[in-house]
Symmetry: C2
Subunit: 214 residues, 2 copies
């Protein structure tokens, strides 16, 4: 297809597609002559991914380039590529390991993974940015004077495991035409804003149920 059709089918304006091409987020089309290039279904799929990361995920262009570098690195096994791609997405700052609250938070996080029986996540603690994000969030709670209730943490973690099962089911039903690594990134980027909106709506609903509009 030509650039105009790529724009029409993706809903992305031509000027924006040209910008993504210049920034190297989209591979060049097959050059038919000096002024015309041809694009295929792979371009369309990649364009949707880039668009989702930038517009829905609000991810900076340089980060998108990093993530795509991991997605395209077929020297690595698939699960490692998927991990590397997802881990290149924006994360919270590193925990300060000198901080006493961070040390205590590590213990709480490790105990939580143990209680959950998440042995795969346990195997990844030294390299997973998600684990480090959890430690940062737990340390912040404690620094503010809130104690962690292990039962409450377990309950939250089980809910989020339910969400992860739905995420991966969603990715699998849409994984036929695209590489699964690509759709996993898309799933993470697309689902998180929706989940956050649903969470706040649920808080409003539950709050009004408990306290009314007094």
């Amino acid at each position: 297809m030509r650039l105009a059709e790529l724009s029409e089918r993706s809903g992305v304006p031509i000027a924006t597609i040209k910008y993504y091409l210049r920034e190297g987020l989209l591979a060049p089309g097959r050059q038919l002559n000096a002024r015309t290039a041809e694009y295929d279904e792979d371009h369309l799929r990649r364009l949707r991914l880039v668009r989702a990361m930038i517009q829905v995920g609000r991810i900076p262009v340089a980060t998108v380039r990093d993530v795509l570098g991991h997605v395209d690195d077929d020297s690595l096994p698939r699960t490692i590529r998927m991990g590397a791609a997802l881990w290149a997405l924006p994360q919270v700052p590193e925990p300060d390991e000198e901080d006493e609250y961070v040390g205590a938070a590590h213990q709480v996080a490790d105990q939580l993974l143990e209680s959950l029986g998440w042995s795969n996540a346990q195997a990844l603690v030294t390299i997973s940015p998600s684990y480090r994000s959890l430690v940062v969030a737990l340390a912040a709670l404690r620094r503010l004077g809130y104690d962690w209730d292990p039962q409450l943490l377990l309950a939250y973690a089980r809910l989020m495991h339910g969400a992860a099962v739905l995420d991966l089911d969603f990715v699998e039903t849409h994984g036929s035409e695209a590489e699964r690594v690509e759709t996993a990134v898309l799933g993470t980027v697309l689902v998180q804003p929706m989940l956050q909106a649903l969470h706040r709506l649920a808080q409003e609903e539950e709050s009004a149920r408990r306290y009314g509009f007094e």
Copy 2:
């Protein structure tokens, strides 16, 4: 208590407390003489709230000032104050009502609230930024060529209602000394980063369970 004790009990450096005082995020202490002011438990509680919003929630100072303005506005009923305070927290951009995908997303969102029986949330659709965030997220999905599966949306919404119940339980157990409006803001700000970290960890666990480290 003096400034030094306020700093020690909150874990917030003195220079940072002075900055919050200058920015009007913290009320001045009771002036004992030209150089010494006295602070009380209300200051400590407010300082923790401000610190959580800025450091954990990464909320800009101007937005923190807006949120606190609503928290302190006792001309309004409590639920309205709580809503106003939570709604002043950062939100996604407004949906473009001219956009055909936004129109379709409104229908899907309305149908979802109907199926859930969230009558309070339904009563708030014209004013709730959380509802508008949901519409934006749904419109983005559709624009990228993904259809909404109503059953999948229902499943996600029920999980997030479970999280909201835990949130409000958490707020209630910590609501004795502080105003509930304040602790609701704190709960929203503190819980969201932890939930996001747990969500990504759960994705890693579930992904490794399904596909191994191949």
